[in-house]
């Protein structure tokens, strides 16, 4: 049933030879890797106003900051895009900030970059989905859905997860349409709005009927302006996605990725700056009932079909922006897992040639975050930008070292570009830390620290294991062994038959089945069953009045040791398997077998073999 459902939703397995066919052209890549960055235009302007227009400030002062802050963010975007173009050509195999830091700055900076990026990808999903839901519930006829934000958000996460489990190319196809519709409708909103304002008859101003702050007057200090800038800087989140995903591009990968990055930067910068200029003239106000973009859409496009296209395209691209994280989180976690800092399961390709475990982990973590913050975008934003700007800074600093070491091509120009990028993003990181720490940025700092600690602990575990498992030629001297095989029996079932067949194939010097009886009833039942099935293997029964399975088996094996002069004793345990993964049912059934196996693993000259068998977990027994 599980397999049927998997095939139905995720699709049939793909052959490994199809891996190369999963590479995507630039036009699809722009949608897959840029929807995160471009979609932030839907909420970045609003987030600036939420900080600069409320409290001691006023709407008028807040609106006045939009153009200079929009310019500042656009300038920062230009610097970061120029820096990441260098990274794309220097690291065509992808990995972005983590790989650049690992190779140029050392272990700890790379772990900081990796942890920051992983947290950022989870936040990207949560923020994008919550903002997408906000766009839907801003439409007047859908406002009654506002109370169901979390449920709608989780439903959308499930849909994106399924699309991504099917494979990147197919999900790219799904996402290309809404991304391009959003770019076109936003270009129309900004272009037509500015045309009407400056060339045409002018635009009507938005009436701030439900605005809860001051309309004019108030005070706007430097700290609040910097706070507004740090809010606007969330527009840059997702810019690094292309540099992480270079291997997913068609050949020549680096050239195509660099071109796509410039397309993305141009679209994002133009839309964001244009929108801020337009907002400065239209005078929208920040509100939890209707987004700033929705207010501007109604003012410029009216409340007809074009407004609905804007709102649904916004909801769609914001929902699909999460796909950028779905493209990058699994890929980055697989790289970190290959380096031994994350469980190896994250490096496994699933049967649809995607890193299924990374996709599933991202889905669960982002859904939990969305639920914890009630699906409110504004509450998640302070957590958001810390990780992004940490990884930007480390990546650019790493590139400076890279240029100095390799001295390839125009390396001096590269140093200047990346040094400017590193300093700029570090300054922004400082601003975010200064202005948003108590608002929630501290949560990201703690989580990143915990993840780094986990990375180190996992790496230490694997290293220790490598040492424990190392082998020498003297360990593997072949010789013929005298062997006694013992099959453990709880009751007679298909698994026991299979285990007995296997034990016979071993051609042991002595073979017996062992039953540990806790009471007379159990003893009588197994004797009856053994006789009924007519097994040609002697059944030995030992009593254990105190239900100590392990102790009873160990004592029996000690007796066998004394009885026969064996080199080894092979203990065969039929083991119930309920599914591909360790399921709760399986844990219930195998607890005693597991404890026994562990004890026997430490017994000298004893080989323990588990012979797995499958049964339907529904019936009782096992």
């Amino acid at each position: 049933m599980l397999t049927f459902l998997k095939r139905l939703f995720v699709g049939p397995p793909l052959a490994s030879s199809e891996k190369d066919h999963q590479r995507i052209p630039k036009v699809v890549a722009l949608a897959v890797f840029s929807s995160d960055a471009i979609s932030s235009t839907a909420y970045a302007t609003e987030e600036i106003l939420f900080v600069t227009a409320l409290g001691a400030s006023s709407l008028a002062l807040g609106l006045n900051t939009l153009v200079p802050l929009g310019f500042g963010v656009a300038l920062l975007l230009t610097i970061v895009v120029s820096s990441y173009r260098q990274t794309i050509f220097a690291y065509p195999s992808g990995g972005g900030s983590y790989v650049v830091s690992r190779e140029n700055l050392g272990e700890l900076p790379s772990l900081l970059a990796g942890a920051s990026l992983l947290v950022d990808y989870i936040l990207t999903v949560a923020v994008s989905i919550s903002a997408g839901v906000a766009a839907i519930v801003s439409i007047p006829s859908f406002r009654n859905l506002a109370g169901q934000r979390v449920l709608i958000g989780i439903g959308l996460i499930v849909l994106i997860t399924l699309a991504n489990l099917r494979g990147v190319k197919e999900s790219g196809r799904v996402f290309a349409g809404p991304t391009y519709v959003y770019i076109l409708i936003m270009a129309l909103l900004v272009g037509w709005g500015l045309f009407r304002e400056f060339v045409g008859d002018g635009l009507p101003r938005i009436e701030p009927r439900h605005f809860e702050g001051n309309l004019v007057g108030g005070q706007l200090g430097l700290l609040l302006i910097l706070k507004g800038f740090s809010q606007g800087a969330v527009a840059l989140t997702g810019v690094e996605a292309i540099s992480n995903g270079v291997p997913a591009f068609r050949r020549p990968e680096s050239k195509n990725a660099a071109t796509t990055l410039v397309w993305m930067g141009t679209i994002l910068g133009s839309l964001f700056f244009g929108l801020n200029v337009l907002a400065h003239h239209l005078r929208p106000f920040p509100s939890h009932d209707e987004t700033v973009l929705s207010q501007m859409g109604r003012a410029v496009l009216g409340e007809g079909p074009l407004y609905l296209v804007l709102q649904f395209a916004t909801a769609a691209i914001l929902t699909l922006a999460a796909n950028t994280a779905y493209a990058d989180f699994p890929r980055l976690s697989s790289i970190i897992a290959r380096d031994g800092y994350l469980p190896r399961q994250f490096a496994n390709l699933g049967d649809r040639l995607v890193f299924s475990n990374g996709i599933l982990f991202l889905a669960v973590a982002s859904a939990a975050l969305l639920a914890a913050f009630g699906g409110v975008t504004n509450a998640l934003i302070p957590l958001y930008a810390v990780g992004v700007f940490t990884s930007f800074t480390l990546s650019q600093a790493g590139m400076v070292i890279h240029h100095r070491r390799h001295r390839e091509g125009a390396w001096k120009r590269g140093i200047v570009i990346n040094a400017v990028g590193a300093v700029s993003t570090f300054v922004v990181l400082g601003i975010i830390g200064l202005t948003r720490f108590v608002d929630g940025a501290y949560i990201s700092v703690i989580v990143v620290g915990v993840i780094m600690g986990m990375f180190v602990a996992i790496r230490r575990h694997y290293r220790r294991l490598d040492t424990d498992l190392s082998i020498l030629p003297t360990d593997v001297r072949p010789r013929t062994l005298d062997n006694t095989a013992v099959v453990l029996v709880g009751r007679v079932h298909r698994g026991v038959v299979q285990a007995l067949q296997y034990a016979k194939a071993l051609r042991p010097n002595h073979l017996s089945a062992l039953y540990v009886a806790e009471d007379e009833e159990g003893r009588a039942r197994i004797e009856e069953q053994w006789a009924e099935f007519g097994f040609d293997v002697p059944l030995e029964i030992v009593d254990s009045k105190y239900r100590d399975l392990t102790g009873a088996v160990e004592k029996f094996l000690d007796d066998v040791d004394a009885r026969w002069d064996d080199d080894v004793i092979t203990v065969i345990i039929p083991e119930f398997v309920a599914g591909r993964l360790l399921s709760p049912t399986q844990l219930l059934h195998n607890q005693s077998a597991g404890a026994l196996k562990l004890a026997l693993l430490y017994r000298k000259n004893t080989i323990v073999i588990s012979v797995p068998y499958h049964v339907d977990p529904k019936p009782s027994g096992g």
């Binding site: 397995p13 793909l14 052959a15 469980p343 082998i471 071993l506």
Partner: protein
Amino acid sequence: MVRPPLAMVLVAAADRRLLPALALTPQLAGYERRAVHIAIDPAESTRLGRDWMSLALDGLPLHIEEPTAPTIPLIVRDLVRRELAERPAVTVIVPEMDLGRWWQPLLHRGMGRAVAWELDGIEGATTVVLPMRVDLVRALRR
């Protein structure tokens, strides 16, 4: 011509996990014996080939197989089906670490169960999970 049953030891690396398999396979009288490595990572395969020679494991020839499917259990299923076309039985022996800790499935792949799942229902195929104790348990207790 029908070939003898095959005992196929899945190998990821030449390490201590192999020891129980090396002790067990000679007991399987009448079986053809073979170690099988799936070449997912070329560097890992090259290292294994070199280690195999240096350990002089002549009694258990190593076969390096190219992946025919996206996951190791699916590749093993393909291999077993191929072998069963000319043999009565194939036993797949999967050496596994046993740390005896609840978090073990989180950090280790547990390939034995996944292979057993894929081979379930294939007539003539048996999976044997051969656990290898790791002294890490003791070290962790200290």
